[in-house]
């Protein structure tokens, strides 16, 4: 299983149906903070996104813990 596949499984475990986009690896807290765009809404057919995770249950510590189980 690739690093990205682990990330998506971990994310789904922490919060199912979370919408976001990942560019590059998620190996470090810096990656977590910079490589993910989180959906916060929609404008017509285009996602409104932010770099700051809007979901309190999704943190780098929690994501890494779930990824390490895989």
């Amino acid at each position: 299983m690739t690093n990205i596949e682990k990330f998506w499984k971990a994310l789904n475990t922490l919060r199912a149906n979370t919408e976001c986009t990942v560019s590059g690896d998620i190996l470090t807290e810096d990656n977590f903070n910079n490589n993910i765009k989180w959906n916060t809404g929609v404008d017509g057919e285009t996602a409104i996104v932010t770099s700051t995770c809007p979901h309190s249950e999704i943190t780098w510590t929690a994501v890494k813990e779930e990824m390490d189980k895989l």
């Binding site: 976001c20 986009t21 690896d25």
Partner: protein
Amino acid sequence: MAQTFLKLDTGVTGTLPSANFSGGKVLQTVGGTFATDTSTSSESFTDSNFNVSITPSATSSKLLINFSMANGYVNSGNKDMLLALYSEIGGASANNIISFGQIRNDVWTGGGGLSYLYSPSTTSAVVLSIYFRRSTGGSGTVYFHNSNNNATDSMTVMEIGA
């Protein structure tokens, strides 16, 4: 009108005046490549971060856009991936100018892409970006780029003079 032939292989020096020619001139070409793993669970179009910028020299120019997708992927059992070409003119919000692809689930794709003639009617900077999303009502992740086979996406944009 009788045909006139211009023999250029010998005895020609200097520059032919461009005013003697009309239509179909390629005024400039820009391009880029992309090889970053990029995936989404979004059901609304989101930026892949693959973009090419060009500033047309005249409002009458057209842009011929060629995009080649190297290896998008949709996991088995997940919903389809949809693609769109977005245009951002002069720093304004990006807009979908054409939706062009749908990749079915459990499929790898290579060499898929788009050829599109676009009339932006501007001399401001135009940023052309590939957006993607998962189809609605699904679950899981779709991959705009997955580096399993080290392939590279590419986009070339040519400004064609009127």
